[in-house]
Symmetry: D2
Subunit: 137 residues, 4 copies
């Protein structure tokens, strides 16, 4: 199980998500940060960023954090996601998802993602998700 | 608390979600069914419908079911969502989200949504979500 | 994969949970109902049944529903549980947990449990849980 | 909103949970740690600590962390709890639940709890819960 390089993962992401609105920001020892570029299509009337945009980021940050550990396995799939919306995101700012893996088992990975409006210290959402890892890889 | 008419709600939905990919299918006594029109932008390489597309539908079906009960209150917001992905959706089919309200309190509503590929009996995902209802309405 | 008999499962339950406060009430085609005998130790001051008592029942009803399908496999373990508390349970009544399996995969089962105070139609809690099934069984 | 003293909270806990198996370990700036004394009644055959024992601790640690912030309000109630079981707890050890509040709103608090076997660095479970705060307090 080798740590996949950031550039390789970014290339994979851009192919998997052709909207190209996810950028891998940083790879720390224990965390992965993914940026979701927010555009007008992600807003609801009134200027709020939609909930699904945050779920989308939570799912992607988890995906990146898991693939970083197990290598690029397109068949890894989300099996569950739980998200709590905490504060109203700032409309004109990108979102940052900071993912920490809680468990990396043979067939299941669990991680948590804190989501921030860029430049803000208090999370706008918090998510926990699980990924099934193909056991025949 | 009057039951909002289906056409009124559909008009509201189309304004709130300008992508216009949600259609209210049916209003039964206890359930609301919302169709998510699936297009190529919702697919991942390999033809799978993305997880966030299903979360998006769960969130919308809950929203419709809650607004049906409390009237059109744009300020109602999702506070949490939990989703389990159960089976691979059929790529060429729309998704149907069937929402049942579990609790309608003064300030909090809880509902569950079963998601199906059109024409299939077994759910592809199951979600439970909570909505905060503005108490000063 | 044979359906385990009710009496066999009840015997297993009474051994696994020596407090002997769970009774299998009914085995329908799609659902399993488990009774949680409520005693004074399960109450909080004021007469409310504690949240953990309901979680306990959700977990047990899921366990019974999964074992009914896969046979008695003591190594099946809960991997996650999500519960929403909907109404205050009736203090002097037992709780009934009605579990429906949403997915029975090779290595993962997902089910939902609606919890009722006996004699009441509206659920006091709703739970969704996942079970890992040992793949070498 | 004054921070409630640790001893006052411990006294309240011991009254609310007459089993007296919860001890407040520490009050840091951002976190609260609660010990669950594990006895033989909490074990399943084979020596595993039961899932509900961990849910019980998650719920209690959240309760303590919320009451610490809002003062002792017996009417604060859990509205939802999500838990992922990550590793097998060590049978002969107490459990420690470390709770961090993610949001403290006017009517809703959200917190996360990491659960450890005493002396072990890797969490055995991770939970996120929400509490409803009586608005007329």
């Amino acid at each position: 199980m080798s740590k996949t390089e950031k550039t390789e993962l970014q290339a994979f992401l851009s192919k998997e998500f052709p909207q190209k609105n996810f950028l891998i920001e940083s790879f720390e020892k224990n965390t992965v940060t993914v940026r979701r570029i927010v555009s007008s299509a992600d807003l609801r009337p009134g200027g709020t960023i939609s909930g699904p945009t945050m779920m989308d980021l939570a799912d992607c940050a988890l995906y990146v954090a898991v693939l970083r550990e197990i290598g690029i396995v397109a068949l890894a799939v989300t099996t569950s996601l739980n998200i709590n919306f905490l504060r109203k995101p700032v409309a004109g700012k990108d979102l940052l998802g900071v993912c920490k893996i809680l468990k990396l088992g043979r067939s299941l990975a669990v991680g948590e993602v804190s989501i921030y409006s860029e430049g803000d210290d208090e999370p706008v959402a918090h998510s926990v998700g699980t990924y099934a890892i193909p056991t025949d890889k």
